[in-house]
Symmetry: C3
Subunit: 448 residues, 3 copies
């Protein structure tokens, strides 16, 4: 009820804020006068297919990836939908205000690149959602979304505009931020966590639903990492690097998954998640000249880190630090993003004009006036800043949302759609019939 | 049996008709002579990704959206596939004949734009399919498809070629037509409807399957609305408007869904359907300069109308007018399309050269010689014409298909794949085993 | 265990091989020097959306198509993922070595076209996987993948570089090769096949999962066939031909499926598979001027062949030749590919400069110096060569992998994830609860 009213009011507020602040990019507002060039806009339309790929990752990719829980599928795919639609609108306002800070009477201009960055901001919120999946109410998620977008936009501004670091695929800006913000929130919610909950498990078909999410994320990740890379050559290189990192990560995950298991069986959690770590880990350096073998190496390392993370780090975080992470986001987004950060530090240190030619300032905008040594220090600073901002703001957010007023779920409501959704009959009619026939038959025999 | 023979003969007939009437667009037939320009054709290939998005909406979007019924999933996704493939071929012939009416020896030239319009025609048939889902045989659907495409092409011709109205996203041409045609058919079938059928319900996983359809429709709707918008600037504006309308509609739907429910629970029917109303409602004005806030407003209104429609209008139509609407198509396509019609009347009245510059005649072809007041009257006429043609032809079609010769289903065959498909064993083997173990254990305890 | 260690070692080996042999295409390595043209590279980015469509076909299309088995969904979608990621890397090395045979110090240059051909090679392996689905271990699949890619690349080289045949959609190179290689492997595994296995069946929802695969394959097939067609006009013609062949094949499949069934019911196996035969059958001639009616005719024939194949040929192969084909790959890929081969022979015989103009040498590279009669003979030779290489190498591969060392599954492990994957609890909790309530109630009544 509270969340219904609140989100409706917020939507009305957004219409007003858009009315005051947001316009089309001048090119779309009334088209060109005759004789003017259409080039920039055609550029936008060339970028459109890549935008759509990212869009699929946000809504189907993240949405279905989280349907693995047996009784939480409606919430997983539904809240994912709601949060993204909310984050997108809110981010456009916040990021626009930050961009035009200190000026008055500005207007935020929308073009397709803005839609891409808005989708990216939603990704950060969804990563956080993965940490707290099943453990918070929709009202809590609403608050988390509003606060996280605010701090996400601040961190993004610091990294890209102030520190001018390279982070093509947003490993730091998106994945690192979203993960550690979420883990910090989860730490603050530690008292209401409910471990060993039998509902925190999958069933056969929910695991297959989750694979829809996994595969769309995996396939379109080259679009994610290259969506905002402008030069066509750099863009192709970004695609190739991401593609290679992902295939290596997939093979590695399958190799290790059965290896770390006592019975030598594969684990769907690894297949659903660790296979994607290659996309995160290559993110920061995706447009750099790491060479094909370098991309494979990064993907392989990401697969190793991620599988081992599911086996050893997640239990440790849960048992020792009381940080419960439903989707194992630390293994898919967190540690691979730190790997990406390290790769960024190394690769920016190595990047010379001889190797990069024209691409150098495409990739490292600040190399116009910075040495490569200095650039690599900035890349390191960016990691530290992101961790600091995400963890601090996550702790505060967690403190806020754990208040009773935000309707935290009771223990029996955890990982369960039941309290929040009108449910269809619990069992499939045909199934019950089949079972009853069985029952009757067995009972009949019993009586004889 | 009848439908098998009939559709095979029809397919052979289509081959013959294509042989006589249809050619490649001259550019694809033998390529260019040396020195000729390739521009127009490159245009076509630029449009290809957008075509593919529309294609996904038709086959996966509509197909999976309708899998929500627990025992009708094969028919939902299967008939959707069959009807679309049929409609596409038939529309190419019919629309080509209308285009070249009055001439002889003409040939219909195929290029990618034609494939897009053919996919659009299938959408209208699928909207109608949504109304009658589970209540008609495949033979009835075959007849509905053939007749509907005929009248769809007539209505489309009247609106776009005679009245020269603006309707970029086809809210009137496609959504309004398909919906009211379907409701009229359903009205004629009222005697064979079977209310309170326990099979007209979902199960947990069928609702998640339906979300696949919802999300692909939702994500690719900007492609749907912009697929035939030619100028890159106008195309970007169309994308932005549609995107914004959809995110606002999504948030609004979630806000209202729990609000209108007695227990404050979310309803999957709303999430699956009402979230999409924003795409329909922005359709007619999607390429107009409505400003970002205008797009959000339209999306918000569409969400409100659609959720309230599911709660109040659908029961009213069913109880009072005996119009049963399985998917609630009136709430997703019908009323939002009327909202789009109204928005079109208003926005065309406001459209001045000062605001639109070059885009004016892109958006409103007839503004070369019409005043804006006159254009807005034509937009109104288009709504009336579409309602008239769709309802009249729907009533006639409904009268035809309800005849015994077209195999209407018996009451026990409603909403059930059983009579029409070879079925796998009713229950999952592993499930039965698990249950039997339970059973044995409980019985053992019972005896003690 | 063996396969885990082996695939990890192989992944490390691939990193080393890539380090020695593979570079970015010079355009991506350091960008252009100032003043150089970017055209070729922009071409690459135009091709990117088509690449992504192919990518979806490989991972979601093939992956989900094979989830139809009730207890083998994890393996279907999981091994599909693993095998593709493996094949892609290995093919890049093998094809590059063949391309540069006889030279030393070469480097393999990666661009987006290479990624497309790598994805294509994975398709051949996945077709073979369809034949042996459920009957081999992951270790056996690993070996099959490594050996098949080797021979695939040889056959591809012979057809495209030596015989210089036209095969735009890879009907011979990919579909024919993958199918007959797989059938030959299956023939060698005939002793361990287990017919009439109750696990070789679907359940209701697994059949709907499979439709996800079917539809993504079907929708994106125009991208598959046109992915490597360079000229925009030829590319559009390829799209149109493939689109038309597929819609005709879909309608035909629905017409025949119920017709060949005793009870006049539709069969999901046909809908899932035979609808796709049109994409294979048009493949070789997809970029030729077959005219729209010709495309419809080919699609219709493909649908007929495929449905009849499922009804008559598959049982014959199984009973008489002891070739078991889990997915009926012979009906979807094998026979339609032979139809494509015949169409290629006929169409190349008819292809004149008068009809094709500029397109002639785009489509038939060798027509610079060959007559059309000669070209059609080469097309025939290509079919024979492909059959010979695929069957011979398939037999050898089958002989190798049936050795005990490669862990062939025991009879009880066939078509079953259980031995290879950590499984969730067999039954859905909510389902068991529902059933237990039923049980209690029935028992209570029983005692009275």
């Amino acid at each position: 009820m509270k969340v219904s009213v609140l989100s409706f009011i917020f939507q009305v507020l957004l219409i007003i804020l858009f009315g005051v602040l947001v316009k089309y990019d001048p090119k779309q507002a009334g088209g060109f006068k005759e004789g003017e060039s259409h080039d920039a806009s055609e550029e936008g339309i060339l970028r459109y297919p890549v935008f759509q790929d990212v869009h699929v990752m946000i809504f189907v990719g993240f949405g279905f990836l989280m349907t693995f829980l047996k009784k939480y599928g409606f919430s997983a795919v539904g809240y994912n939908f709601f949060l993204s639609a909310l984050a997108i609108q809110w981010y456009i306002i916040i990021a626009g205000c930050i961009e035009h800070r200190g000026t008055t009477g500005f207007s935020i201009n929308l073009d397709i690149s803005k839609l891409i960055t808005a989708d990216f901001s939603a990704a950060a919120v969804l990563i956080t959602f993965g940490v707290v999946l099943g453990k918070v109410s929709r009202l809590q998620l609403f608050i988390i979304c509003i606060l996280e977008i605010l701090m996400f936009a601040v961190n993004e501004f610091v990294l890209l505009e102030e520190l001018k670091i390279a982070d093509a695929g947003g490993s730091l800006v998106i994945h690192c931020f979203g993960c550690y913000f979420g883990l910090a929130v989860s730490f603050m919610l530690r008292n209401i966590n409910n471990n060993d909950n039998p509902k925190e498990a999958s069933v056969y078909h929910s695991d297959i639903f989750a694979m829809i999410g996994t595969l769309f994320l995996w396939m379109y990740w080259p679009s994610f990492n290259s969506a905002l890379v402008l030069n066509p050559n750099d863009q192709q290189r970004t695609v190739i690097n991401t593609y290679l990192s992902l295939v290596a990560c997939c093979v590695t995950t399958f190799a290790l998954s059965a290896f770390v298991n006592g019975e030598r069986k594969l684990n769907m959690v690894h297949v659903q998640n660790a296979t994607l770590a290659g996309g995160v880990a290559i993110g920061t350096v995706a447009n750099m000249i790491v060479q094909p073998w370098g991309a494979l190496l990064i993907g392989t390392l990401a697969g190793i880190i991620s599988v081992l993370g599911y086996n050893y780090v997640t239990p440790f975080l849960n048992d020792s630090l009381k940080i419960h992470d439903t989707c194992g986001v630390n293994n898919l987004h967190g540690m691979p993003a730190l790997l990406a950060g390290v790769a960024g530090i190394i690769c920016s240190r190595l990047a010379s004009l001889d190797t990069y030619h024209d691409s150098l300032t495409n990739v490292f905008e600040a190399r116009e006036h910075r040495t490569r040594a200095k650039q690599s220090v900035y890349q390191l600073v960016a990691v530290v800043v992101t961790l600091a901002i995400s963890i601090a703001s996550g702790l505060i957010t967690g403190f806020i949302v754990r208040q009773k007023i935000f309707d935290p779920p009771r223990p029996d409501q955890l990982y369960d759609d039941e309290s929040y959704w009108e449910m269809p009959d619990a069992t499939d009619e045909s199934l019950k019939e089949g079972v009853n026939e069985e029952l009757m038959k067995t009972m009949a025999e019993d009586k004889v």
